[in-house]
């Protein structure tokens, strides 16, 4: 089985701290995906440095094929020693999922990984090994499509301690909550955010500790084909539409642009039903075509899509409010949502024709910026960790 993963994380800083003392590293090797969460002792700068060093060392050494023993030894000998407590310390969890479905989980002193399969919590067996005086749990298993795995720092289980909850948010209750959220979304980011948001609420929005939730979901690969703009040479319209229609049964197809949609409608001989429903005053309404997942206006919509995706890659700005925006039924939110939640690779088919009516300085927005938008879109989606190809016509 060819395993693809959706990986995302969300952190809350301890109240008043500018830096987070938790650090997540997300890495790709030729045959696996790796997610590492390190939690540095204390908070602020010191914790941030400890966590960064730990996650970077683990990541770099793992990438180069070092054994767990070598990694732990290096960490123990490298971390600066805390003057207050006279120890060098950061807890960590490592999850590596290979493309063939093999998975390897390593946990040291973080709250246990939450492993959800088919809507049920799975037990992770105890298998403790002592490495350099540290008790480390290892688990080797096989993942399946749909599995969700959450790594957390201890800020989660301390949420609300002594205030809203006597003993904090106990692991079992977090796991129950995660299981409930699991069925509501296929997105790793939403799952991580939902748990993090609940912690924030329990902390009454003043987290007493750095809090991080990192989520990996096992998904099947899904390509999105996005076509925008008419071909420079109209004789290539057919070829452009045919390439865009390529792919397999799971391929999602979006066309952004009124003229482009008209061309698709003509080439495929399918009727185009344009809505007049202005759900957002700034974004022109969408249209419908049988068999096509999404039909929207072009440049204005793509401009908004880009703004949304840029907010998404800047993790700090993601909140429930962002997802509410993403759930709105306007064309831009719908495209952005598909690219964020339902896409593992993006192929863009971009026409270079210039619409003379757009070269009009009287318009309040420069519509002649399609190619610029496409370039920025490509960079932003790549930043999300998804491969992008662009073909110009």
């Amino acid at each position: 089985m060819g395993v693809t993963v959706d990986v995302a994380y969300k952190s809350l800083n301890k109240f008043t701290e500018i830096l987070c003392g938790d650090k997540v590293e997300i890495l790709k090797t030729a045959d696996s995906n790796i997610m590492i969460l390190a939690d540095g002792m204390g908070s602020g700068v010191k914790a941030n440095i400890l966590a960064t060093l730990t996650s970077k060392i683990l990541g770099t050494m793992f990438l180069n094929g070092a054994t767990l023993e070598e990694c732990v030894e290096t960490i123990v000998e490298t971390l600066p020693i805390c003057q207050v407590r006279q120890v060098a310390y950061a807890t960590f969890s490592i999850l590596q999922v290979f493309h063939n479905g093999d998975a390897y989980l390593v946990e040291f002193d973080n709250p246990g990984c939450i492993f959800i399969r088919n809507g049920r919590l799975m037990k992770i067996p105890e298998n403790i090994r002592e490495v350099k005086g540290k008790k480390i749990n290892e688990y080797r298993f096989q993942v399946q499509k749909g599995d969700a795995l959450l790594l957390m720092s201890d800020g989660t289980i301390h949420a609300g301690v002594g205030r809203l909850l006597n003993f904090g948010w106990v692991w079992e209750d977090i796991a129950d909550y995660a299981v409930k959220q699991y069925s509501l979304t296929i997105s790793a980011m939403r799952l991580a955010s939902a748990v993090c948001q609940a912690c924030d609420e329990l902390y009454e929005y003043r987290p007493g500790d750095d809090t991080t939730v990192a989520c990996m979901r096992i998904i099947s690969s899904k390509s999105v084909h996005l076509m925008t703009g008419p071909a420079q040479d109209a004789s290539r319209d057919n070829e452009m539409v045919r390439s865009w229609m390529g792919g397999d049964d799971d391929t999602r197809r979006i066309v952004c642009g009124g003229t482009s949609a008209t061309i698709v409608s003509r080439v495929l001989n399918k009727s185009l039903d344009v809505s007049m429903d202005y759900v957002d005053p700034e974004i022109p309404p969408i249209a419908y075509m049988d068999g096509i997942d999404l039909v929207t206006e072009g440049v204005l919509t793509l401009n908004r899509v880009l703004q949304l995706l840029k907010r998404y890659v800047k993790k700090e700005t993601i909140s429930e409010e962002f997802f509410l925006e993403l759930d709105k039924p306007n064309g831009a939110s719908m495209v952005a949502k598909m690219l964020i939640e339902d896409c593992t690779e993006l192929h863009m088919y971009v026409g270079k024709a210039i619409n003379s009516a757009y070269q009009n300085p009287g318009l309040p927005f420069d519509l002649g910026i399609r190619q610029n938008l496409v370039e920025q879109l490509k960079n932003t989606v790549e930043e999300m960790g998804k491969p992008v190809t662009v073909t110009y016509y």
Binding site: Y278, P284, E297, G298, A357
Partner: protein
């Protein structure tokens, strides 16, 4: 009667939304909803002159200011 209003990029910027709202209000106020079928449309290829509106295929260029006049003359005039 089929009336289509372009909501493509250029027409949108020139006020499609306002024109649609005005036409919807006028159609309702004049009780002609059963005779006038308002639709959205994509680019009709005449973006330079204003918001493209077609009545049964015949092309007009509108702005929000001229909408009421257009409604009275072209739409009511044909009923």
């Amino acid at each position: 009667m089929k009336v289509s209003i372009c909501i493509g990029s250029a027409c949108h910027l020139r006020g499609s939304r306002e024109i649609i709202q005005k036409l919807q209000t006028l159609v309702k106020a004049n009780n002609v909803a059963d005779k006038v079928d308002l639709n959205g449309a994509f680019c009709s290829g005449n973006c330079v002159n204003g918001v493209c509106v077609t009545i049964d295929g015949e092309l007009f260029s509108l702005s929000p200011e001229t909408t009421e006049e257009f409604f009275n003359k072209e739409i009511m005039g044909r009923l």
